[in-house]
């Protein structure tokens, strides 16, 4: 390990090396080593699967870790074990979900999303944006987004993946990932705005439509 690196960097690197070492041992048939990987990452993998939705999360979770166990030898250690596992989870989710997350769908212009998120609202109309939003409301808002936007938000905002790492899991160029992330953020703000507004916006348009 690089002795010149900071404490935080060393910690992250040590964790990554340990994951890699455990996966190597798992690849040679050591199930106890794989149990460590499962214990470390099962909650995050489960969150990712449940955020994508539309499937039996337990089935996909099991399929993910069984595939990871069988494919442990293919982990190259170039990225994190977490991103490797989420890539497998994404494939497992696709196996079980009838609709692919990247299936073409109605295109909502960014400007319309911004309007829905309150861009043009009268500044005099107070919003409760300073209040702490409840986790339930945020979860509900997230559920209004298309699956491809939900997954990019989980990777970038919740997992804290770098742009390159998130793009790798999503099999997108970094530019395409950034564009999707931008849309997802505006869409989330629109969903929160509509769910959190004391009065529904006029025009009868809703984020889920």
């Amino acid at each position: 390990m690089d002795q010149g690196s900071s404490g935080a960097e060393s910690h992250v690197k040590a964790d990554a090396e340990t994951d890699s070492a455990f996966l190597q041992r798992a690849a040679s048939g050591e199930s106890a080593a794989f149990d460590v990987i499962v214990a470390r990452h099962q909650a995050a993998v489960d969150r990712f699967i449940r955020t994508l939705g539309g499937v039996d999360a337990d089935d996909v979770l099991q399929e993910t870790f069984i595939a990871a166990w069988r494919g442990a030898g293919s982990f190259r250690g170039t990225g994190s074990a977490r991103s490797w596992l989420l890539s497998i989870a994404r494939n497992a989710h696709r196996h079980q979900h009838r609709r692919r997350v990247d299936e073409p769908r109605a295109f909502v212009p960014l400007e319309l999303l911004a309007q829905r998120a309150g861009w043009s609202a009268d500044p005099a109309e107070s919003r409760r944006t300073d209040a702490v939003l409840a986790a339930d409301l945020l979860t509900q808002a997230l559920a209004h987004l298309p699956p491809d936007e939900r997954e990019v938000l989980v990777l970038r905002e919740l997992e804290g993946f770098s742009g390159a790492e998130a793009a790798g899991v999503l099999q997108l160029t970094e530019t395409a990932m950034k564009s999707r992330l931008h849309r997802a953020r505006l869409h989330l703000a629109a969903a929160v705005y509509e769910l959190d507004s004391p009065l529904p916006p006029s025009g009868g348009q809703h984020v889920g439509t």
Binding site: S31, F34, D35, V38, Q42, A43, A44, D46, R47, D58, L61, Q62, F65, I66, W69, R70, L110, E111, A114, A117, G118, W119, S120, P123, R127, T129, D130, V132, L133, A134, A135, L138, T139, L142, L153, E157, L158, G160, K178, L181, H182, R185, L186, L188, A189, V192, Y193
Partner: protein, 92 residues
């Protein structure tokens, strides 16, 4: 300053509101070039709607991270089920 009914076509400090909207994520992620950031900052200083909107989006993201950033641990019965399923696969 332009008329408020110009909407996203409103130009403030030589930057259109729609440009700010398009580049908001770059601004929030700190991936914008210094000169461009200064131009956007000048726009935000003179445009209440964009400043308020940018702040709202930033707050929603920050609150998403704060509320849901740490995944909920698996309930013990689900973790047991996962382990049992893995054991069967490992034995087979």
């Amino acid at each position: 300053m332009s008329a408020p009914d110009a909407g996203l076509n409103t130009v403030v400090a030589r930057v259109r509101c729609s440009e700010v909207l398009d580049e908001l994520s770059d601004l929030l992620d700190g991936t914008m070039r210094t000169e461009r950031r200064a131009m956007i900052a000048a726009h935000l200083a003179g445009c209440d709607r964009c400043a308020r909107f940018g702040g709202d989006v930033a707050r929603v993201i920050a609150q998403l991270r704060a509320a849901l950033g740490v995944p909920t641990p698996l309930a013990s019965d689900r973790a047991d089920q996962l382990r049992a399923s893995l054991r069967r696969a490992q034995a087979g």
